[in-house]
C-alpha cells in the first residue's frame, strides 16, 4: 500500500510525479495538460485561469500571512503566464475553533493585497470542519487574467544567448517562514518577499520577455531546470551575481539547506532577449519590488537540459532540482 507523504506536496520531483501519474491522468484535458502556471482558455480576449491552495504554517509570519499569500500566489501565477490578473475566487476551509479576530486579520490582509494588485475577488465559498480535521484555515483562490499579447510567454521561446534576470534576493520567504515556525533568531531578521508581481511586470513587459516563472516551491534551481528541459537549452548561473540576504546564506549554511531550492513568493525569473535585457533590468530596478534585481545567468546551447553554476573560482557545478521534502507547508 502506498501513502501520501509530505514529500508529495513539496514542489519537487515527487510532486510532479503525483500530478502527472494521478491527477493529470484522470483530469487531463488540452488546457490542464499545458501544465503551465495558468491555463490559456479560448475567448474573445484570451483568458488565463489558475488556482492555488494555501496551507501554510504559521498563518502569520514576518512579511506576510496566509491571506496575502493566497492573493499573491494566484496573481503571480497569472502574471508569469503573461496575463494581467483581473478576477479572483476565494474559498476558505476553516477549522472549528479558529479565532474570529485571526480570520478578520486574514480577510483584511486579503483585501489590502487585492487593492495593491488591482484585482477583485468575485466569488467565494466557506466551509468549516471539525476541530482536528484542518490546521486553523486553508485557503483556495482561483484567478482569471487577460493575456497581454496573443503569443503567451513560454519556455518554447527561450533560445541560447538569452539572459536570465531576477528581481531581487533569493530564498527570503523559505527562511522567514522557517524562522517563525521554529523560533530561529537571526541578527538581521529576514522577511518574506511575498508581493503581487503584476505591478512590477507592468513596468517592464515587452516583446523582449521570452519566459517568466515565479520560483515558489522548489526554488530558483528547480524552476530553471524545468525551463531548461522544456526548452532543451543549457543555463549557466554566476554564483557571485546571485542577489542574497546575508542572513539567508548564513541560515542555509547552518541548516544544510540549498539556497536555490528555497521558496520565494515575490520573485520573478525573467528570460529576456540579449538586446532587451539591460532595459528590463533598469526598469525592474526602478520599481520598489525590483531594487536588487540582477542578471544572474545566461541561456546557452551546451549542456542542454542542465543548469550549471560558475563559482567565484570559475569552477563549475551542476544545479539540481529539489528532491523530496524540503520544508513542510511553506505556502
Amino acid at each position: 500500500m502506498e501513502y501520501i507523504t509530505l514529500a508529495h506536496g513539496s514542489g519537487g520531483r515527487l510532486s510532479r510525479h503525483l500530478i502527472e501519474s494521478l491527477i493529470a491522468k484522470h483530469l487531463g484535458n488540452p488546457y490542464l495538460d499545458q501544465m503551465n502556471d495558468a491555463a490559456i482558455l479560448p475567448s474573445q480576449h484570451k483568458i488565463a485561469l489558475t488556482t492555488d491552495s494555501f496551507v501554510i504554517s504559521p498563518l502569520f509570519f514576518r512579511g506576510g500571512d496566509i491571506g496575502k499569500l493566497a492573493v499573491c500566489g494566484t496573481v503571480n501565477d497569472l502574471t508569469v503566464s503573461g496575463a494581467i490578473p483581473e478576477y479572483l475566487t476565494l474559498a476558505l476551509i476553516l477549522e472549528e475553533g479558529l479565532a474570529i479576530a485571526d480570520l478578520e486579520r486574514i480577510i483584511v490582509s486579503i483585501a489590502a493585497t487585492a487593492r495593491q494588485a488591482r484585482v477583485r475577488i468575485v466569488c467565494g465559498d466557506t466551509k468549516v470542519v471539525e476541530r482536528g480535521n484542518a490546521d486553523k484555515i486553508y485557503i483556495n483562490t482561483a484567478g482569471i487574467g487577460f493575456l497581454r499579447t496573443d503569443v503567451p510567454v513560454s519556455p518554447a521561446q527561450v533560445k541560447p544567448g538569452d539572459v536570465i534576470l531576477i528581481n531581487g534576493t533569493i530564498g527570503d520567504h523559505g527562511i522567514a517562514v522557517l524562522a517563525d515556525r521554529e523560533g530561529l533568531e537571526f541578527e538581521t531578521p529576514v522577511c518574506s518577499d511575498c508581493a503581487p508581481l503584476n505591478i512590477l511586470v507592468d513596468q517592464f513587459f515587452g516583446p523582449g520577455v521570452k519566459c517568466m516563472r515565479d520560483p515558489t516551491r522548489g526554488g530558483v534551481g528547480t524552476i530553471l531546470n524545468e525551463i531548461a528541459r522544456q526548452a532543451d537549452v543549457g543555463m549557466i548561473l554566476y554564483e557571485e551575481s546571485l542577489p542574497v540576504h546575508p542572513a539567508v546564506v548564513g541560515a542555509c549554511d547552518m541548516l544544510g539547506l540549498e539556497l536555490l531550492h528555497l521558496a520565494n513568493e515575490g520573485k520573478v525569473l525573467v528570460i529576456a532577449s540579449p538586446e532587451s535585457a539591460d532595459e528590463i533590468l533598469a526598469r525592474m530596478r526602478g520599481h520598489e519590488l525590483g531594487r536588487q534585481a540582477a542578471k544572474i545567468g545566461v541561456v546557452r546551447a551546451e549542456d542542454a537540459g542542465r543548469v550549471v553554476m560558475q563559482t567565484a573560482l570559475s569552477a563549475k557545478r551542476i544545479v539540481g532540482m529539489l528532491e523530496g521534502e524540503h520544508l513542510p507547508r511553506i505556502c
Binding site: Y3, T5, L313, E323
Partner: protein, 360 residues
C-alpha cells in the same frame, strides 16, 4: 552572492598555483567529514585542482555510518504508541529494513524534526502524557548538547524525556581506516567541528603510528585549498604531522569544558559502524547515573541483527574504496528521492553530494 572578495580570490589563486607546483606526484586525500564533502562539491574544487590530487570522501557523516540494526532499533521504538520521536531532519528519510521515519509518520506515528536538543526537552515539557525520545546521532560535535539535555532532564526530573544514543567518536574510526590493508589514502582533511571539541592530540597517533599526515580544516573553499597546500608542504618538507588550518575555531587542546560534559554523561563503548563493522570503544553509552533517561534501558529495547540492503555499497563508499558511481544502484534504483543506502539520504552523505552535484 559574494562568496569571496578580491583578496580571497587572490589568495585562492596563490594557493592553487603553489598546489599545482608542488603536486608533482599523485596524492590521495580523504576528507573525513561530510560537511567537507559537501563544501568540496558545492565549490566544485575538483574542477580547479590538478589531476594528481584526488579527493576521496570518508566516513564522516553520522547518519551514513549508523548501522542498519540501529536504524531498525529506533524505527521499532518510533512505531510504539504514545511515543514522540524527536530527531534532526536528516534521519527522517533513512530507510530501515522495511520503512523509514517518514513512512511511519504518514501512518500516524508522531515524529518531529527539531533543530536542537532543547527543542526536544520543550516537547517533553509540553506533552507530559507522552514519552519524548530524542535520537542522538552524531559525532563529538553534537555530543555535548545531548549531554546538556540529559543533565537538564535529570535536574528537572523530567520523567517523560529520554535519549536513544548512537553517538560515535572520530579517532577510533580513523584508526580502523588506517588498520585497513586496502586503504589507499595518503593524508586526511580532519573534521573542523569535531576537532573544535576534542582538539588534535587524540588524532596524533595517525601521524606517529601510521605515517598519515592530517590537517584540521575549515569549511570554506579557501580553508580547504589552504589545507591541501599544507599537506603538500608536509610531504615536500618530509614532515608527517597533524596540523590545524582552522585556527580561528580549533585549539590544539580542544574545548576542555565540552570534553568534561561528554565525560560526565557518557562512557566510551563498542559501536557498530556501517561498512566498518564493530569498532572497539568507538561509541558513547549513557552512564548509569543517567540511565533513567536512556531510552534503550527505559523501553528495554531489543537488539536487532539487520543486514544492509543487497547490492548497497555504502560500506565501501564510506571507506573510500569506491566512488558512488561505481555502485550499481547509484542514480538508478538509489536516488535522494528513493534512497536505498543512508549515504544517499543525508544531505551530507557522499552519494547525495555526488548525485546532487553530478560528480562522476
Amino acid at each position: 552572492m559574494r562568496t569571496m572578495d578580491r583578496q580571497d580570490k587572490a589568495r585562492a589563486a596563490k594557493y592553487l598555483a603553489e598546489i599545482r607546483r608542488l603536486a608533482d606526484q599523485p596524492l590521495k586525500i580523504m576528507e573525513v567529514c561530510g560537511t567537507h564533502t559537501v563544501a568540496i562539491a558545492k565549490n566544485a574544487l575538483r574542477d580547479v585542482l590538478p589531476p594528481q590530487i584526488r579527493l576521496i570522501s570518508g566516513p564522516g557523516c553520522p547518519v551514513c555510518v549508523t548501522d542498519q540494526s540501529d536504524i531498525d532499533r529506533f524505527l521499532f521504538l518510533a512505531a510504539q504508541p504514545d511515543i514522540i520521536t524527536a530527531t534532526f531532519g536528516d534521519m527522517i528519510r533513512v530507510p530501515g529494513t522495511s520503512k523509514s521515519l517518514q513512512a511511519l509518520r504518514s501512518e500516524g506515528a508522531d515524529i518531529r524534526v527539531v533543530y536542537s536538543t532543547l527543542d526536544a526537552l520543550a516537547l517533553a515539557r509540553k506533552n507530559p502524557a507522552k514519552e519524548v525520545v530524542f535520537l542522538g546521532v552524531g559525532f563529538e560535535t553534537t555530543a555535548p548538547t545531548v549531554a546538556v539535555s540529559l543533565q537538564i532532564a535529570r535536574q528537572e526530573n523530567l520523567k517523560n524525556f529520554s535519549v536513544l544514543v548512537f553517538h560515535k567518536l572520530v579517532p577510533p574510526a580513523l584508526r580502523a581506516l588506517a588498520e585497513d590493508p586496502l586503504l589507499e589514502v595518503d593524508a586526511f582533511l580532519d573534521p573542523g567541528h569535531a576537532c573544535a571539541i576534542i582538539g588534535i592530540h587524540p588524532l596524533e597517533f595517525m601521524a606517529r603510528q601510521y605515517g598519515k599526515p592530517g590537517v584540521v580544516t575549515g569549511f570554506e573553499a579557501l580553508d580547504i585549498l589552504e589545507a591541501i597546500l599544507m599537506i603538500l608542504r608536509q610531504r615536500v618538507q618530509g614532515r608527517t604531522e597533524i596540523e590545524i588550518q582552522y585556527k580561528k575555531v580549533v585549539k590544539a587542546e580542544g574545548n576542555v569544558q565540552a570534553q568534561a560534559l561528554i565525560t560526565e554523561v557518557f562512557a566510551p563503548a563498542d559501536a557498530f559502524w556501517r561498512g566498518l563493522g564493530c569498532i572497539p570503544q568507538s561509541g558513547l553509552a549513557i552512564r548509569p547515573a543517567y540511565r533513567s533517561w536512556d531510552a534503550a534501558v527505559k523501553f528495554n529495547l531489543p537488539l536487532f541483527q539487520s543486514v544492509a540492503p543487497q547490492h548497497c555499497r555504502c560500506g565501501d563508499i564510506l571507506k573510500g574504496r569506491i566512488r558512488p558511481g561505481a555502485c550499481s544502484l547509484f542514480g538508478s534504483e538509489c536516488t535522494p528521492l528513493q534512497p536505498i543506502g543512508p549515504c544517499m539520504v543525508s544531505s551530507e552523505g557522499t552519494c547525495a553530494a555526488y548525485y546532487r552535484y553530478n560528480i562522476q
